[in-house]
Amino acid sequence: MTRLATTFAACAAQNRAALVCFVTGGDPAPAATPAILDALVAAGADVIELGMPFTDPMADGPAIQLANLRALGSGTTTAALFEIVRDFRTRHPDVPLVMMGYANPMVRRGPDWFADRCRDVGVDGVICVDIPPEEDAALGIPLRAAGIDLVRLATPTTDAVRLPQVLANASGFLYYVSVAGITGKQQAASASIDAAVARLKAATDLPVAVGFGVRTPEQAAAIARTADGVVVGSAIVETIAAAYAAGQDPAAAIMAYVGGLSAAVRSARQDAPK
C-alpha cells in the first residue's frame, strides 16, 4: 500500500478524518520550511501538501498569492523544493507528502523529469490545479508510470455526467473543492458539503478530502463528520505569516493553531449529534 492509502486507512480505522495541511514551500525562505513541516506533523497533520510557488497563481486568494511572492522572492527553486522533500522523507518515513501547484513549473523540464524526481525524493502524490482530465497526457501518464498518485479535483461545477471523467485515473484521494472560487475566501454551507461528499463517495472508493475556505476548528469538525479528509491551507499560511510579522516562532503558532484543528478533527465523530 502507498503511504497515502495507509494513512487514510489508519484514520478510517480510528473512525476519524485525516487532517491535510498545506503550506507554500519556501515561504518565507527555503531554510524555514523543514521546521514548519516538522511542526505541522507534531501538531497532528496526517498528510502534508507542499505548495510549489508560481509567479501566476490564478486559483489562489491573497494569502497564498503573497506566500508565493515571498517564496520566489527568497529564491525558492524547484531543486530546493525537492531537497526539502528528500530531507522530510528521511525525518518522517511514514507521513505522506503531496506536491501541489500549477502546470508550468511541473512540466518545465518535461513531465518525465518531474515524475522521476518526485519518485526519487519520496513525493507520494501530485495535485495540479490547471491540468484537468482533458489534458491528462501532459502529466498524468509519466506520474502513473513513476508510481506517483495523481490527485484529482472535483468542484461544485463537476456534475454527474462529468464526474466519471474526473475519477478516471484519479488516485491517492479525491480533493473536493467545496466552493466555486479561489483559495482562502469563503466557506460553503455544511449541508451542501455533506451532500457533495455523499455523492462523491457513492461514485468512488477513493478517500474524499474537502478543502477551500476551512478556517476554524468548528468548520473542520463539521466536515470531518462525513468526509475522509479535511484540507486547511490559507489559514495555516496566514498563521505562519502572522508569527513572522510579530517576531514569534512559527512552530509555536503552528502547534497552537493546527493542534486545535487536529483535536477538532479527531473528536468530530464522537461529538456528532446522533
Binding site: 497563481p57 508550468n104 518545465r108 484537468p132 501532459a138 484529482r152 462529468r162
Partner: protein
C-alpha cells in the same frame, strides 16, 4: 481523391494546434468552457447569429474598413531603396473602427455569445486599455454590467483609457498583484470568473486562453483578412505577396493571416516587440526569446526562467507587453508557414513618425512595430510586388508615451 493539407483546419476537436493550445484550466472552469464551446458551435450553425454579427459590424463598428494604398509611404520607401525596388504598401485601416482598434470585432462576437448563453455580467482584462474600452463599449451597447481588470501600473500609464471605460459605465479594478500589468490582470479576471461561474461571461481580448477562445477570437478577427482579400482582388486583381502584422497575443495578426494561410504564394511576417533589444531581458518576444510552457489556459511559447516561472515582458507598447503569444502563432512558427521577426522600441518610434509624416495617419505603437518591418521588407522587394500591413489601431492613446520617449514635455 486526394485530401489537400490545409493550414486552416486547426485546432483539433480537443482544441490543440499541434502541441500547442489545449484547455489548461481549473476543474471549476472546465464545465464552463465546454458550455462555451457548445454554444459557439450552435452559433456557427445559426444563420441568425451571423446576420446579427454582420449587421453590428457594418452599422455599429463601421466595417468594412478601407484597404488603402499608402502611396506617399511607398514613394518614401522607394526613394531610399535600390533601383527597381520598393513594393507597393497597402494598409488595412482597422484603426478606423469604432473605438479605434481591431479589438471591437471580437468583442461584438463574444457579447453575442454571452447573450445567447443568458449571462448577465461581463468581465475582461486589459493592458493598454484598448480591449477594455471595446469591452466596456459593447457592454454598454447591450446593457450588461461590466468589470475590467487592469494592472495598477497600466492604469497610471493609460489614464485616458481608464476614464473612457468609466464613461462607458464599466467598473475598473486596478490589480496590485505581481508586476501590476496585463498578465496579472488576466490572473485576476480568472479569479473573478471562477468565483462567479453562474452569471459571468469572460471576454478574452486576444487569440489565447483555453480552447475555444483562441479559435473563436481568430474567427471573429478573420473578418480583417476576408475583407482584405476581396479588396486587394478588386484593387490589383491578384493576391498580395506579403502580409505584415504586429503580435502581442496575436489577434490582429491571426485575423489578417488566417484567410490567406492556404495561399502558398502569400508570405506572412508577424512582428514581436523587441523592446530594448533581444539581447537584453527587456523585450516581449515570446517566440524569439521564450520556450513552450503552460499559462492562462493554453500551452504556448512563454517568457520564463529555467524553473518555469514567468518573466515580465517589456515593450514601449502596453498592448504588446505580454509574456506569451496565442497558441496558433506558436504552431505557425513551428510549421514555418509564418515568419516571425521583431522590432525594437526605437525602430517602432521611427516608423510611428514616418507614417505620421508621409500619410497623415497617427498609428498606435502596436502597428508601428509592423510598419517598421514593412519598410525593411519593401526595400528588398520589386516595385510590382504588394504588401498589406494591418493598421490595427490608432495612436491617440499613445501620444503621451511617444512624447515622453521623444523627450517632449506636454
Amino acid at each position: 481523391m486526394t485530401i489537400q493539407n490545409s493550414y486552416r483546419a486547426q485546432p483539433s476537436p480537443d482544441g490543440h494546434f499541434g502541441q500547442f493550445g489545449g484547455r489548461y484550466v481549473a476543474e471549476t472552469l472546465m464545465p464552463l468552457i465546454l458550455d462555451l464551446e457548445r454554444e459557439y458551435r450552435a452559433a456557427q450553425a445559426d444563420p441568425a447569429f451571423q446576420t446579427e454579427l454582420d449587421w453590428l459590424l457594418k452599422h455599429y463598428v463601421g466595417r468594412p474598413s478601407p484597404l488603402y494604398y499608402a502611396e506617399r509611404f511607398t514613394e518614401a520607401v522607394r526613394a531610399d531603396a535600390p533601383d527597381g525596388m520598393g513594393a507597393k504598401v497597402y494598409l488595412k485601416r482597422d484603426e478606423l473602427n469604432h473605438t479605434g482598434a481591431h479589438k471591437i470585432n471580437n468583442c461584438i462576437g463574444q457579447i453575442l455569445l454571452a447573450k445567447r448563453m443568458g449571462k448577465t455580467r461581463i468581465i475582461a482584462e486589459t493592458g493598454a486599455g484598448q480591449h477594455g474600452v471595446a469591452t466596456a463599449t459593447v457592454a454598454a451597447r447591450f446593457g450588461l454590467p461590466c468589470t475590467i481588470y487592469m494592472g495598477a501600473r497600466d492604469t497610471v500609464r493609460q489614464q485616458p483609457n481608464v476614464f473612457r471605460m468609466k464613461l462607458l459605465g464599466a467598473e475598473i479594478v486596478p490589480v496590485t498583484a505581481g508586476a501590476q500589468t496585463l498578465k496579472d490582470a488576466m490572473n485576476e479576471a480568472l479569479r473573478d470568473w471562477v468565483a462567479n461561474v453562474d452569471d459571468t461571461f469572460y471576454i478574452i481580448g486576444t487569440a489565447a486562453g483555453p480552447h475555444p477562445y483562441p479559435e473563436l477570437v481568430r474567427d471573429f478577427q478573420s473578418v480583417i483578412g476576408r475583407e482584405a482579400r476581396e479588396q486587394i482582388m478588386e484593387a490589383e486583381g491578384r493576391l498580395p505577396d506579403l502580409l505584415v502584422a504586429a503580435i502581442g497575443g496575436g489577434s490582429n495578426a491571426i485575423g489578417l493571416f488566417h484567410p490567406f494561410l492556404d495561399d502558398a504564394d502569400v508570405k506572412m511576417v508577424g512582428i514581436e516587440a523587441a523592446g530594448h533589444g533581444l539581447d537584453t531581458v527587456e523585450h516581449a518576444a515570446s517566440l524569439a526569446g521564450g520556450e513552450p510552457g503552460v499559462l492562462h489556459g493554453n500551452r504556448t511559447y512563454l517568457l520564463q526562467d529555467a524553473d518555469g516561472q514567468i518573466t515580465e515582458g517589456h515593450s514601449i507598447s502596453a498592448g504588446l507587453d505580454y509574456p506569451g503569444i496565442g497558441p496558433e502563432h506558436s504552431w505557425l512558427h513551428e510549421t514555418g508557414r509564418v515568419q516571425y521577426e521583431s522590432c525594437t522600441d526605437k525602430d517602432a518610434l521611427d516608423a510611428f513618425q514616418f507614417l505620421c509624416r508621409t500619410e497623415g495617419i497617427i498609428p498606435a505603437l502596436e502597428p508601428a512595430h509592423a510598419l517598421s518591418a514593412v519598410v525593411r521588407h519593401a526595400r528588398t522587394m520589386p516595385r510590382d510586388q504588394i504588401i498589406i500591413a494591418n493598421l490595427c489601431g490608432r495612436g491617440d492613446k499613445d501620444i503621451f508615451t511617444v512624447a515622453d520617449a521623444l523627450g517632449v514635455k506636454l
